[in-house]
């Protein structure tokens, strides 16, 4: 094929179809925008858009249903895995996912996520962990780091007063009903690529009927952390990953294969 100045260029990257063409309410540099896009890419590539029924959290991403173009159900704070269970059981043909933050999943919703995982519910949980409660103004989350200054730990989180950060995905990974549990981050393009692969594998766990799947995505909160977006990504890469190691924690699909 001959190429000249009139040959159109290739499109390397464009907005995925399932991501709405509108600006978001998220703060500048907020990781939710990246995770939304990755989800839209993965679901679009797997052709799952028409089958998806997603459950929204309470938190900054409560408006996820404005940005991702499939059916959504709101849930009370923390209850998304239970709502997703109900949807899943009566609609075996649907593709069901939850999108939750650290307060939703690791604080008020610990019972719901543990039992959905224990039952091996065929749902995919996306856990966006930025170690802070952004929507309500920057309070401590169960996943906040020791020493992290938040509006409810102004002197820095002390273990004796406020406990230790909870490694939710490690805890869930030991349950037999969990087919896939992984932790990624959005710290740089390479990590973003790996996280996208984790999301795809987590969706495949549901499609294969293998069991419950969860992907924890370490994300940032520039405003809550009191940093510029660029500083927050550096903090994510250099500090947060020390407490929450990246990688695939369990992949029971591989063991069976």
């Amino acid at each position: 094929m001959s190429v000249d100045a009139t040959t159109p260029p290739r499109v390397i990257f464009e907005r995925p179809e399932l991501l709405a063409d509108r600006s978001t309410h998220y703060c500048p540099g907020c990781g939710h925008g990246v995770v939304h896009r990755l989800l839209a890419e993965v679901l679009g590539e797997l052709g799952l858009g028409p089958r998806t029924i997603a459950v929204a959290p309470v938190g900054c991403s409560v408006f996820a249903f404005d940005y991702l173009e499939f059916d959504w159900c709101e849930a009370p704070h923390g209850r998304a895995p239970a709502v997703a269970t109900g949807i899943r059981r009566v609609r075996p043909d649907a593709f069901v996912l939850t999108y939750q933050g650290d307060g939703d999943l690791a604080a008020i919703g610990t019972a719901e996520i543990v039992h959905a995982a224990a039952r091996g519910e065929l749902i995919t949980a996306i856990f966006v962990n930025n170690g802070i409660y952004g929507m309500t103004g920057g309070q401590m989350a169960p996943t906040s780091l020791i020493g992290q200054k938040t509006t409810s730990t102004p002197r820095g989180r002390e273990a004796s007063l406020a406990g230790y950060p909870i490694p939710m995905t490690e805890m869930l990974a030991i349950l037999p009903g969990v087919a896939y549990a992984a932790r990624g981050s959005i710290a740089d393009p390479s990590a973003i690529g790996k996280t996208k692969a984790m999301l795809r594998r987590a969706c495949q766990a549901q499609l294969a009927g293998a069991g419950f799947a969860i992907v924890e995505v370490l994300s940032n909160c520039p405003v809550g952390w009191g940093m510029t977006p660029v500083e927050s990504i550096r903090y994510l890469r250099e500090t947060v990953v020390g407490t929450y190691p990246l990688g695939v924690l369990v992949d029971r699909m591989k063991k069976e294969a």
């Binding site: 209850r79 269970t85 039992h115």
Partner: protein, 467 residues
């Protein structure tokens, strides 16, 4: 049937036996569960709690047999949220629990009302508050009709009085939930759940309605969102106005009640559920003793049959509300009656059930007090603590209401004595205080010896003119 013939007799013609549905002895919980299954329940989510665990167990056995969904959730909180999700896809969903579990479901009630998701909940009430007891009670009336979750919403509440009625009302509950896109509560109690009665296996399967709002996957259509969050005040106001319009429609069309022997009644017992069954026996005994008593039994507690009670209050002398509680529905009765007749209350708490004779005695007291024009009905039975030795307790009427000249009707002023009957005397209703009560000036609030006391207005007034 063949005719039997013996020598010398004309053959007896065969007797036609009318076709009757089969009657089976069933436990209430199980009968209600089976009625739900036959009504087309797609999914049941529950958690064991006495006295409704048999409902869950029946569902655990039968739902998989029918290829439907059953989950024993990790808690009532999990169960009700599973129900929210399942119902958001258009499924016919049932949840059951008892009083403490209903409290756990309060949050989700608000969400289901705001998101307009149809779920049927059955509350087999037990004694409270807190862990309470496992015995029957009706102390969740406030919770069901006015309480549970936050926000401006109402929820239809149905109250069966027998197992057979409960079976039918389960189907009605599904109908109401789906017709109006609302959660619906069926309020049973521990007796209804645990008793065994012969029931006719007569079931109803409400037809399925179109659900253009349901989440089914955005295949070839615009995505749908089932939500209650509307951050713009204009939008939330509009949403709330839609909800209120819906509640008005329900109130206009779905009131259910029944009456017995009301045509010639002078006194009426207002009761629902098991209390109504006790009342029925009490009425039979009262009638035998010459009292003209009838029964008004609300079947929907919300929408409350207020207009029917208002009309009835114009032609009866008094109403006795009987509940297995400290008195919750009685407040709605008083609101409906608006002082047109006397309203008294009789009830037991903590899982105790009033006997028909206790109810008859309360009827007599209501009758007598109404005849005397005092409209007072003191607390039903002496309580087991020490009599009050200080200043006499203040009546509720004194605390709240100015004196009514001429002894006109006042709104159900029963003497509210937290210190027990032992400390109360009928003489205190009169103008002069009884001898020996310290602070002998009547009308003083305990502890305020310096409060000036106004002159009594008239001796015949209900409170003796005391403020």
């Amino acid at each position: 049937m063949t005719a039997s013939v013996s020598a010398g007799e004309a053959p007896t013609p065969p007797v036609a036996v009318p076709d009757r549905p089969k009657r089976v002895l069933m436990k209430g919980n199980e009968a209600i569960a089976e009625a739900a299954i036959q009504a087309g329940c797609d999914a049941y989510f529950g958690y064991p709690i006495t006295p409704q665990a048999e409902l869950l167990e029946w569902m655990a056995r039968r739902m998989p047999e029918e290829g439907r969904v059953f989950i024993q959730a990790e808690s009532e909180l999990g169960a009700i949220n599973m129900a929210l999700g399942a119902a958001a896809t258009g499924a016919r969903v049932l949840v059951s629990s008892s009083s403490p579990g209903m409290s756990l479901m309060a949050e989700a009630m608000s969400y289901m009302a705001g998101q307009e998701v149809p779920v049927v909940l059955i509350n087999v009430m037990r004694g409270g508050p807190g862990l309470g007891s496992i015995q029957p009670s009706q102390s969740d009336y406030f919770q069901a009709t006015k309480g549970h979750g936050h926000g401006d919403y109402r929820v239809p509440v149905l109250a069966p009085a027998s197992i057979g009625e409960a079976m039918d009302l389960v189907a009605t509950s599904f109908e109401l939930a789906e017709r109006y896109r609302t959660p619906v509560i069926m309020l049973a109690d521990g007796i209804l759940g645990q008793a065994m009665e012969p029931v006719e296996l007569r079931y109803r399967t409400p037809e399925r309605l179109e659900t253009p709002w349901a989440l089914t996957g955005a295949d070839g259509r615009e995505p749908r969102v089932v939500r209650s969050l509307h951050l713009k005040p204009e939008e939330l106001e509009a949403h709330n106005e839609d909800l209120q319009a819906k509640f008005h429609r329900i109130a206009g069309h779905e009131v259910r009640w029944t009456g017995e022997q009301l045509d010639d009644a002078e006194l009426v017992i207002v009761a629902y559920g098991t209390a109504a069954r006790v009342a029925r026996t009490a009425i039979a005994r009262a009638r035998a003793a010459g009292m003209r008593v009838g029964l008004f039994r609300p079947i929907t507690l919300w929408p409350f049959p207020e207009f029917q009670l208002a009309e009835l209050s114009q032609r009866v002398r008094g109403m006795l509300v009987v509940e297995l509680s400290a008195g919750q529905m009685v407040e709605d009765v008083r609101l409906a009656v608006e002082g047109r007749c006397a309203v008294g209350f009789d009830g037991r708490m903590g899982g105790m059930v009033p006997s028909p004779d206790e109810v008859v005695a309360a009827l007599r007291r209501l009758d007598e007090s109404e005849r005397q024009g005092t409209r007072a009905l003191k607390a039903r039975r002496p309580r087991r603590h020490a009599p009050l030795t200080g200043p006499r307790p203040v009546t509720r009427a004194e605390w709240h209401r100015p004196p009514v000249a001429g002894g006109g009707p006042s709104l159900g002023d029963d003497v509210f004595s937290p210190f027990g009957d032992d400390a109360w005397s009928p003489e205190w209703e009169q103008e002069t205080p009884p001898p020996g009560v310290p602070g002998s000036t009547s009308g003083q609030v305990p502890g305020q010896a310096d409060t000036p006391v106004p002159e009594p207005v008239a001796p015949a007034t209900r409170n003796g003119g005391r403020p």
